[in-house]
């Protein structure tokens, strides 16, 4: 029962953060970003059901997001013309059902195999649907997409959803519900067997489970929640276009889930938050943000194969043993030069980019034509690199001593 109380506390904190955020940051821009995050969190979590929990690498997950979103926008239009009439708070559910429907159909033949075959089918389906969306203009609206207005439905306790902040609370509610249900799914036989099939499909068959059926269930659930995210997107932006079901969106959700950390439930949430912030803020400071995103992604795959969540979880043992503090100083000693190295590197990239003009980097005016600027950055980077390299063994040592396990079982049980 102690764990139950602990878990409830975490969920209550989550709800608190969701509800409290707009009180801390209440500008329109902040709300916009939070809304984006809300959509991204559900979408990335649904993707994790496939890849992280079920071991299915999909290059076409945006299909379910997009189809759900399109149907949601069309439903909004129907509400406007009173073909149907209900409160728009249920719109994400419409998106979810369409996502589910699409997943049931596509999953019926694509979940036969995991691995490369599944990845390739998802790629093919993704390309097919994206291409069709440009051909079938009457439903998808061509490249301009479909527009709607969310304010025509019956008011919900007097709220007519004129403002994005009202949508935020609706979105937050959906995020909370969707997150909760996706978490609970992992705790059911179907969710647990998805992990088992991911780890070892053959073994799963020999304990009575059809790997294909298990994958199919996860696939449908992922499609359902992706559709909910799509429905929320439709509510937030009141429009949707083909770009929301093409390969770029599919790729972005893969990035989110991976950078956040596959396999950890919280990973995709972290990834969704990081990528949304980068996408909407970093792009205002540098045109090269996509390049940095690419570098970050590749570095993550290389050095943090379990993403940011995995990095955080690495410290669990040290935390339990109360030795996290002993890591702080070594982290600083190595981290600071690493930071300087990164800054110098970015400065040089920006100098290359701003050829022939003066630009301000962290408040310092830099110019690519000025050799001394290059020299300064190079020297800085070199010193930082050396400092990093010199201190790395110490960090490793500190790490090992903090994680040294006298009796392993004891440590595990303490959690």
């Amino acid at each position: 029962m102690k764990t139950l109380a602990k878990k409830s506390a975490i969920w209550l904190a989550y709800l608190g953060v969701l509800l409290g955020l707009p009180l801390l940051f209440d500008s329109i821009l902040a709300i916009t970003i939070f809304n984006q995050m809300a959509i991204a969190i559900i979408f990335a979590l649904s993707y994790n059901m496939l890849l992280g929990q079920g071991g299915m690498l999909s290059f076409g997950h945006a299909v379910y997001f997009g189809l759900g979103g399109f149907m949601a926008v069309h439903t909004l239009v129907m509400i406007e013309y009173e073909t149907v009439y209900f409160s728009i708070i249920y719109i994400p559910l419409i998106g979810g059902l369409i996502g589910l429907l699409a997943a049931v159909f596509i999953g019926s033949f694509s979940t036969h195999k995991a691995g490369t075959v599944f990845a390739m089918i998802s790629l093919g389906i993704g390309e097919l649907v994206a291409a069709s969306s440009l051909i079938f203009v009457s439903f998808f609206g061509g490249e301009a997409g479909v527009n709607a207005d969310r304010t025509y439905g019956p008011a919900f306790f007097g709220i007519e959803f004129f403002q994005d902040s009202e949508i935020y609370y609706l979105g937050a509610a959906w995020v909370f519900i969707a997150t909760l249900f996706m978490y609970l799914f992992t705790q059911t036989p179907a969710g647990r067997m998805a992990n088992a099939v991911r780890d070892n499909p053959e073994r799963a068959e020999f304990i009575g489970y059809s790997a294909r059926r298990v994958r199919f269930i996860s696939f449908c659930a992922a499609g359902f929640f992706a559709g909910i995210a799509g429905g929320l997107f439709a509510l937030n932006y009141e429009f949707i276009t083909e770009e929301n079901l093409n390969a770029v969106t599919s790729g972005r959700v893969l990035l989110m889930a991976y950078i956040g950390g596959l396999g950890y439930f919280i990973g995709p949430i972290i990834g969704a938050v990081i990528l949304t912030l980068m996408n909407s803020l970093l792009s205002n400071y540098t045109e090269l943000w996509m390049l940095y995103l690419g570098i970050m992604f590749v570095l993550t795959v290389l050095f943090l194969p379990r993403g940011f969540a995995g990095f955080i979880m690495m410290h669990r043992t040290a935390w339990i043993r109360g030795k996290l503090g002993s890591l702080l100083l070594p982290y600083l000693i190595t981290g600071l030069p690493a930071l300087v190295f990164a800054i110098a590197g970015v400065a040089m990239i920006e100098m290359l980019h701003h050829e022939g003009e003066v630009f301000h980097f962290l408040g310092i005016p830099l110019e690519s034509a000025n050799l001394s600027h290059w020299l300064m950055c190079t020297v800085l980077a070199a010193i930082a690199y050396l400092g990093c390299k010199r201190s790395l063994p110490q960090l490793r040592e500190a790490w090992e001593s903090a994680n040294a396990i006298d009796e392993a079982g004891e440590e595990r049980e303490a959690s």
């Binding site: 902040a30 984006q36 792009s283």
Partner: protein, 419 residues
């Protein structure tokens, strides 16, 4: 990278999140105008070039001369919409958040349509906080027809107006008997195809349309198979609305096949295209556009362009309509002595303005469509004073239509807000 983020960006993030839309207009405060176009990604060069032209116009024509409305400066705020309708929504909210009331936007009709409906919704829900859309380049006809809005002004001729002039020009060429139409499979491509067919049938019923082909945007690796069809159809000329890499590839394939026929098009110059077509495209590529190219009509404009070129050696003055739009916008502010979008919009309606080339521009009040003369130019290296891509090649004017002959009917039923 993340380090950068946690440092500069975080600080800026906090600042920008905390900014409240409560700035009161004071005499010294700059007038902030958003420029919302792709500034990163595949289409960045077009967007950045436009941004430089707008910044140059603001600096050169107004700020360096003491500002407007009694000394206020114009500040151009670049907003990167990555040419994505979704990202446009986000950047629009950023503009609202920063209390920017005027948005310049030009690239992609899909984006313009999205912005148009977003602004319409926003302005209806937030009276007193309205936003004005200055469309300097998106040519989808519906923006000043079915979907016209009081808050949207277009400073470029729309696709059908351009095609009207283009088909007039084609009709004058008796050698053309067979026409092939090819375009990207999306709304603009379809408008080009449908309208061309309709107008040619009217003007030259003897011209046979020997092909009407659509291909997916940006998906075609090799245009040779399409060119094979063009050749076998025996076409004398090609009309296409392609842009970007699809335009270059198509033109290159046609030229490579040895086909000596004219290509009539919209977007086959600048931003690397002129340089890539180079000598191969001479006398083959013809563009319909506004704002006369070579020879530059007035000394004033020539100097204006040359100064821009000195400041931005790698960019061209590709879209003079950006300058036109800013000049007319400022004129509207001065006339109404206001920066409120509603007052500006009223002042812009039916404004007549003589631009740097000495052409008179008319912003038709009924649909907010600019009426100005249109030109057809040829890709060449003869008599080029202002070239493109520093390549020595550029556009030479062959045919001009005065503004009054470009006027077309519209189907706009504008809903005017009441104050």
């Amino acid at each position: 990278m993340m380090r950068l983020f946690s440092n500069t960006s975080l600080k800026l993030l906090l600042v920008s999140l905390l900014i409240q839309g409560s700035s009161l207009a004071s005499a010294q405060e700059p007038i902030r105008i958003a420029f919302m176009d792709p500034l990163s990604g595949t289409f960045a060069s077009v967007g950045n070039s436009g941004l430089k032209q707008l910044q140059y116009a603001a600096e050169e024509l107004f700020n360096s001369r003491g500002g407007i409305l009694g000394g206020r400066m114009i500040e151009i705020v670049p907003l990167d919409n990555k040419q994505s309708p979704t990202e446009t929504q986000i950047q629009f909210r950023r503009a609202v958040s920063e209390d920017i009331r005027i948005i310049f936007q030009g690239n992609s009709s899909a984006v313009a349509n999205t912005l148009n409906s977003t602004i319409t919704r926003h302005n209806r829900r937030n009276p007193g906080q309205e936003i004005l859309q200055i469309n300097y380049s998106a040519v989808d006809p519906i923006l000043t027809n079915e979907e016209c809005s009081f808050w949207h002004f277009r400073f470029d001729a729309h696709a059908i107006m351009k095609l009207n002039v283009l088909t007039d020009y084609i009709a004058m060429n008796p050698d053309i008997k067979k026409m092939y139409i090819i375009g990207q499979d999306y709304s603009f491509g379809q408008v080009v195809a449908d309208t061309s067919i309709e107008l040619l049938r009217e003007k030259r019923p003897d011209i046979e349309i020997v092909g009407n082909e659509f291909h997916p945007i940006g998906q075609v690796k090799d245009f040779t198979p399409y060119v094979t069809k063009i050749v076998s159809s025996g076409a004398d000329a090609v009309i296409t609305g392609n842009f970007g890499a699809d335009m270059v590839s198509l033109a290159r394939s046609i030229i490579d096949s040895g086909l000596e026929i004219p290509i009539y098009t919209f977007y086959a110059a600048y931003d690397g295209i002129t340089a890539t077509l180079g000598a191969d495209g001479v006398d083959k590529i013809r563009l319909i556009h506004n704002d006369a190219g070579n020879p530059i009509p007035t000394q004033e404009r020539l100097e204006y362009i040359q100064k821009f070129k000195r400041l931005n050696p790698d960019n061209d003055m590709t879209q003079h309509r950006i300058t036109n739009a800013l000049q007319m916008l400022v004129k509207a502010m001065e006339e109404s002595q206001s920066t409120d979008p509603y007052d500006i919009a009223l002042a812009l309606e039916d404004m007549r303005f003589v631009n740097m080339s000495g052409e008179e521009l008319w912003m038709r009040g009924e649909d907010h469509q600019i009426i100005q003369s249109l030109h057809i130019s040829v890709h060449t290296d003869q008599n080029i004073v202002v070239d493109a891509d520093n390549s020595g090649f550029g556009l030479l004017r062959e045919y001009s239509v005065p503004a009054e002959n470009t006027i077309m009917d519209h189907s706009c039923r504008m809903q005017r807000p009441r104050r």
